[in-house]
Chain length 459, copies 2
């Protein structure tokens, strides 16, 4: 295995390219996996790309092509002759062709559709009909279909004849003449059966399938949950129209997780790798959120300003504001993130609201009490005794610690409820994480703080 990370491989590629040692380059590249070839070619300047790409054997070239970034694919397609384009398209699976078309500019799309064979074109148009986040949009139409009256021997003949073009042959699907899904049979079952066993008798009929309009994320989760290698996708009339394979499901899960994590950090998700996105793109994905959160922090400012006189009267309280707001934010963030993750793993749903709130409330009471206790001791021992800060009276410590208990409780309650409510009204729960929760909790904690201060310190 070649270690691409240390950069020495890239240096060799650059050196050989400079000296035009094409056969040596070819020998180096063919040893790599398609994903790594895409990585290596992606590091080169775009002008050199078509030259090196042409060194690859046809099938490997197509496999590497699928793994490349859209801008590189566009450059390559522009450099292809019509025959070359046709050849590449023939090697691609239908779902990869769809992915390609979704990323390319209109003129390139036109050229691709012109040179795809009629059957591919029909399948591509079929898949493009489905909404972006649906199971239909990520399925492939190339699966092995068998009939229930076939024998195992017939099935093998069919697989041998058509299997080379199918994305997977590990699971074969049994359909009725009306294309309804009747059952499935794994290649393992076929191999362990006799030549003249009838498919209808050995097939698994107790099947889980997805519908074309299901959310692709749910379908991916189900594939993972049930340890499937592929999930059949049926249309509204329960006719089998495609399958989602495990590799595409993994891509969906990774994308969705990356999106969730970005949203949780108040970043608009992009599908580009970190170092590939430019400065402006990055600014565009971050600045609007920062602006929004900055403006909503104004409310915190207003609360503080309106208590300015009380604070002037008892200025020791100012120093504890960051600690109270910070602890509140952290507590809320813990709850919201735990709930968001469980939601995206389908472990909980909106119907669990009461369970979740009950659990978080008890956690909040325990955490709040212990934090307040710890803080009370610290205030009296460190601030008052050790650092001789006379202003930290027992009453001040009480205000701080009571605020802590209430803030922790509110923070956990807000933190666990908001993601569930977001899910309910169709928003992405991931938005309800740290930055958003903190902004709300900041205001809450200040209001609680000043109420206790008024009450106990009479300021």
């Amino acid at each position: 295995m070649i270690d691409l990370e240390n950069g020495r491989f890239m240096e060799q590629v650059e050196a050989l390219t400079a000296r035009k040692r094409w056969p040596d380059l070819r020998d180096m590249l063919v040893l790599l996996e398609p994903a790594d070839i895409a990585l290596v070619l992606g590091e080169l300047s775009l002008e050199r790309l078509p030259l090196l790409y042409r060194l690859l054997p046809k099938e490997l070239a197509a496999e590497a092509f699928v793994e490349m970034e859209p801008e590189e694919q566009a450059v390559l397609i522009k450099s292809f002759s019509d025959t070359e384009l046709k050849e590449v398209l023939e090697e691609l699976y239908v779902d990869d062709t769809v992915d390609l078309i979704e990323e390319m500019p209109a003129t390139v799309v036109k050229r691709i559709l012109q040179h795809a064979d009629p059957e591919t074109r029909r399948s591509v148009n079929e898949i493009l009909k489905y909404p972006e986040d649906s199971a239909g949009s990520i399925m492939t139409t190339e699966f092995v279909d068998l009939k229930q009256d076939m024998t195992v021997g017939d099935a093998f003949k069919r697989i041998r004849r058509t299997g080379v073009d199918k994305e997977t042959i590990n699971i074969c699907y049994v359909t009725s003449p009306g294309r309804h899904l009747l059952g499935l049979v794994s290649i393992r079952t076929l191999l362990l059966s006799d030549e003249d066993d009838v498919i209808g008798e050995i097939m698994e009929t107790n099947i889980i399938s997805a519908s074309t309009m299901d959310d692709k994320e749910d379908v991916a989760q189900d594939l993972s949950r049930y340890d499937f290698l592929a999930m059949p996708v049926v249309d509204r009339e329960s006719r089998l129209v495609g399958i989602v394979t495990i590799d595409d499901a993994i891509d969906v899960m990774e994308e969705e997780t990356t999106e969730d994590i970005a949203l949780m950090a108040a970043i608009t998700p992009t599908d580009k790798p970190y170092l590939r996105s430019g400065v402006w793109e990055t600014v565009k994905s971050r600045l609007p959120w920062l602006m929004l959160l900055m403006l909503s922090a104004t409310f915190t400012g207003i609360v503080i300003s309106s208590f300015e006189d009380s604070l002037a009267a008892c200025s020791v309280l100012i120093g504890f504001i960051p600690m109270l707001m910070g602890t509140g934010g952290n507590c809320g963030n813990q709850s919201s993130v735990a709930v968001i993750r469980s939601l995206s793993l389908n472990e909980i749903g909106f119907s669990d609201l009461i369970h979740v709130v009950w659990k978080e409330s008890r956690v909040a009471v325990v955490c709040g009490a212990l934090l307040a206790g710890g803080n009370f001791i610290k205030l009296l021992l460190v601030d008052r005794l050790l650092m001789q800060n006379e202003e930290v009276t027992i009453l001040v410590a009480a205000v701080i610690c009571l605020t802590l208990v209430c803030t922790v409780f509110c923070a956990k309650a807000v933190g666990c409820m908001l993601p569930l409510l977001a899910e309910k009204i169709g928003l992405d729960p991931a938005v309800m994480a740290a930055p958003f929760i903190s902004t709300i909790v900041d205001v809450l904690s200040l209001l609680i703080y000043f109420q206790f201060a008024k009450l106990l310190l009479r300021i």
Copy 2:
């Protein structure tokens, strides 16, 4: 497909259990996927579990057993007779047996090992040798191995004879007499070849393999990157000792992501689903972090206290502290989370430090300038003109906006560097997210704020 989420299915199960309608119950359960059976049985009280479990046909029962939570598995094993235990163990794949053993208390483990057949016991002990996070610990030793002088016909005979016990037959591995890995051949290639083709001639020799001591997360990432269904695992002498299958790789990826997300929110990761972990467990995973962060927020308090006199002289400055700290925290969080996610997708490494810092610096300058600009306008138009707050002079606005620019820059720099440094010294980069970064940025932003205030407002 049965909708487990709406709860009606569970009600039916409860009702049938109460009326002891075992055959009806059995008929309902056998229609479910093993993962769903585990879910349904998990909802029942633990005393009823063995009763319902015994309704299932042997193979399905074992498959459902694998999917259950450890406490349910323990209850079942205790209820098993020796013969029953033996039967279940025979149905399990070796890697599932290892998972089971890792979760069970010592007495149960002893009983399991006593009743496993000698070969399984040997494999289990072999796998248990490897460290917890290694590829060796998640591999299975049950794969199809072929010899290079076999014909395709011989290979099929071998698969038919041994395949039923193998975790996957989709990829077969070709080994030398000394058990070195020579190549691999997919079931598709076998099916598309002639009966008397020789394995050594049709096998793929350009293979990527993992080593037993590789990090399991890296191996899982590679499986996903290369779209493999299984990854061969070799020992230090490059002998093939096992394979990691895609379903286990997906589990590893999900676990690691859940762990990362938990750490990013300052929660110690546990492997229990959200609603399954008790209040004390949840408190234990959250409280130490809250305590730590609360104590480190003390530094912020110290900074504020030491500038108490200046603040008293110009109390308008107090109201903007939360906005400045919040914006700093959000900026730092955006950068750190983006870097943490790229690190865990292996998109970047420590060697990219300069690239990353250069990119974040430019993003920081643009974001900082625009945020400061927006804020300057808001301060003069809203605070000064609209709300007639005379204290917000142009100089005060300048202090706030200059602080904003510098804070954003520091926050982004700290945010992108700390995760990379953590990775370098072997810590989990995910710890370096919002809570930790905020605490640092809070102190930094205050120091910057007061320096500018001193300089421009001469307080």
